[in-house]
Symmetry: C2
Subunit: 291 residues, 2 copies
């Protein structure tokens, strides 16, 4: 680990060069935030693309080779791959290495991070940004600019390691937000995971409707486009989210269904005043949000 504050002298290994990892590597390299960015990817062509763009200084398909000498390791793979990679890299890491992830759910990853050797510093991370495209083709070094970037330390995480994590977050242009893993998973279930289930179900419903009326797709405008956008997210990522945050997601889904059933009953009853009240409460709150 570099003796300099932050990680200006550090070698940062980014494992997985998709939307998130590619963007992170690109942000670090193009902003010259650290001494070296090493990229790890299963696919040589992804490494070539990252090298050509100047987003990594060195690339390898070998997880152990790519991470063993790093001062900071960022696992930018889907949650369940992170769980496996933590087990694989643990024994080979240098003492003092900061190990972060970028996965959308935190509790399971942090439990797995407990299994890392005691000399290693684990720190959960989740940048609150994204888009529906996946892969390095969709990556962009300014993806994190101005976005909240959640950091979830473990009890064993040192204050210095947390500071280093914050420095990395700021170096890619994001805003560090320290949040307990359980709080994180409960809160993002409402604002991120639930919207994914809703978007997928809306697509499913429209597909059912299109069996009778194939022409409905030609009438879909910006409202349908935006409400279903999340359904086009990477299926592997959605699968991993749903399987690693079940309890919180099911609770949020139950709350959604309660609202949806209430609205159904109000429309069916056809009384203006209570229907207006429901609509206006949700509509007012939405307009108040600064999104």
């Amino acid at each position: 680990m570099s003796e300099e504050p932050g990680f200006a002298g550090a070698c940062v290994a980014v494992v997985g060069l998709g939307l998130m990892g590619g963007s992170l590597a690109g942000a670090l390299a193009t902003r010259q935030a650290c001494r070296q960015v090493v990229g790890v990817s299963r696919r040589p062509e992804t490494l070539r693309t990252a090298l050509e763009r100047g987003w990594i200084h060195h690339g390898t398909t070998d997880l152990i080779e790519g991470t063993a000498q790093a001062d900071v390791v960022v696992l930018a793979t889907p949650p369940r791959v992170v769980l496996r990679q933590l087990r694989e890299i643990g024994p080979h890491l240098q003492a003092g290495t900061l190990v972060m992830d970028l996965a959308s759910t935190k509790a399971q990853v942090l439990r797995a991070m407990e299994g890392l050797p005691a000399c290693v510093q684990p720190l959960g991370g989740h940048p609150m940004c994204g888009k529906e495209q996946a892969g390095i083709e969709a990556a962009q070094p300014d993806l994190f600019a101005g976005r909240p970037f959640i950091l979830s330390p473990l009890p064993r995480t040192s204050a210095g390691a947390l500071e280093q994590g914050k420095a990395l977050v700021r170096a890619v242009g994001a805003v560090p937000v320290v949040l307990d893993a359980a709080d994180h998973d409960r809160m993002v279930a409402w604002v991120s995971h639930l919207p994914h289930t809703v978007a997928l179900s809306l697509m499913g419903a429209a597909m059912a409707g299109a069996q009778q009326d194939p022409g409905l797709w030609s009438l879909a405008a910006s409202g349908f486009r935006d409400t279903t956008r999340l359904a086009a997210s990477d299926p592997d990522m959605m699968l991993d989210i749903f399987l690693t945050n079940q309890e919180n997601i099911l609770r949020a889904m139950n709350a959604f269904r309660e609202q949806f059933d209430k609205l159904y009953a109000l429309i069916e009853a056809g009384g203006e005043a209570p229907l207006r009240e429901f609509i206006e409460a949700a509509s007012r709150r939405r307009r108040e949000l600064n999104l």
Copy 2:
């Protein structure tokens, strides 16, 4: 009615100068598509704004005065106001006047249009565009550019009147799509009205979650923003939509609930293969859509 093809020599009265009516008046006037645009609004300040922008040539708060001499009347008010205004203007219109509306639901409006004097030409209209802001401040003359604009003729509507409606649609930059009112209402229930119910319910669910976790709003990113955007639509418009297309909306809501409950059960069961199948079917279809 002008003898010229289309309506280059026509006086077009636009009733209601909100998002839709303001944009339509602005498109007609700035493209010099007709001889005169008369604006009708309850509020004098709206008329002043429209006059200042050059979107109308003449403004009045008097519905009868504004429409009695027009060759084309476009009612750009919410569906249930349209129903009332049709009764009010009917006896005062010139023979041959084309009477259109822009309401989001068509069956009820077209039934009311049947009550117009026989010498008048009724034509239902629904431009497939919009945004969550309401009022003339949100209006923009290019709102219709490239968008489908549905025209629903009645059995009594003459071929010439339908052609004049198509000419108006093309004059504001939109693409005319002729569709039976019942087909329209059934199809837009899936791609427009159902997404509104989903967005409102999602806001309601997040508001319930925020009672325990007020901090969740600060984690809301672009996914939540887009999935809930329609909840910020004009409450009066949503209310009118829900109350004038109940049957179709309830059918679409039932189909949504079926999908949502299926996804809930799959997440609860935790089996990877069937969950992946559900996700991938919806995700693939969404990516295929050219939205």
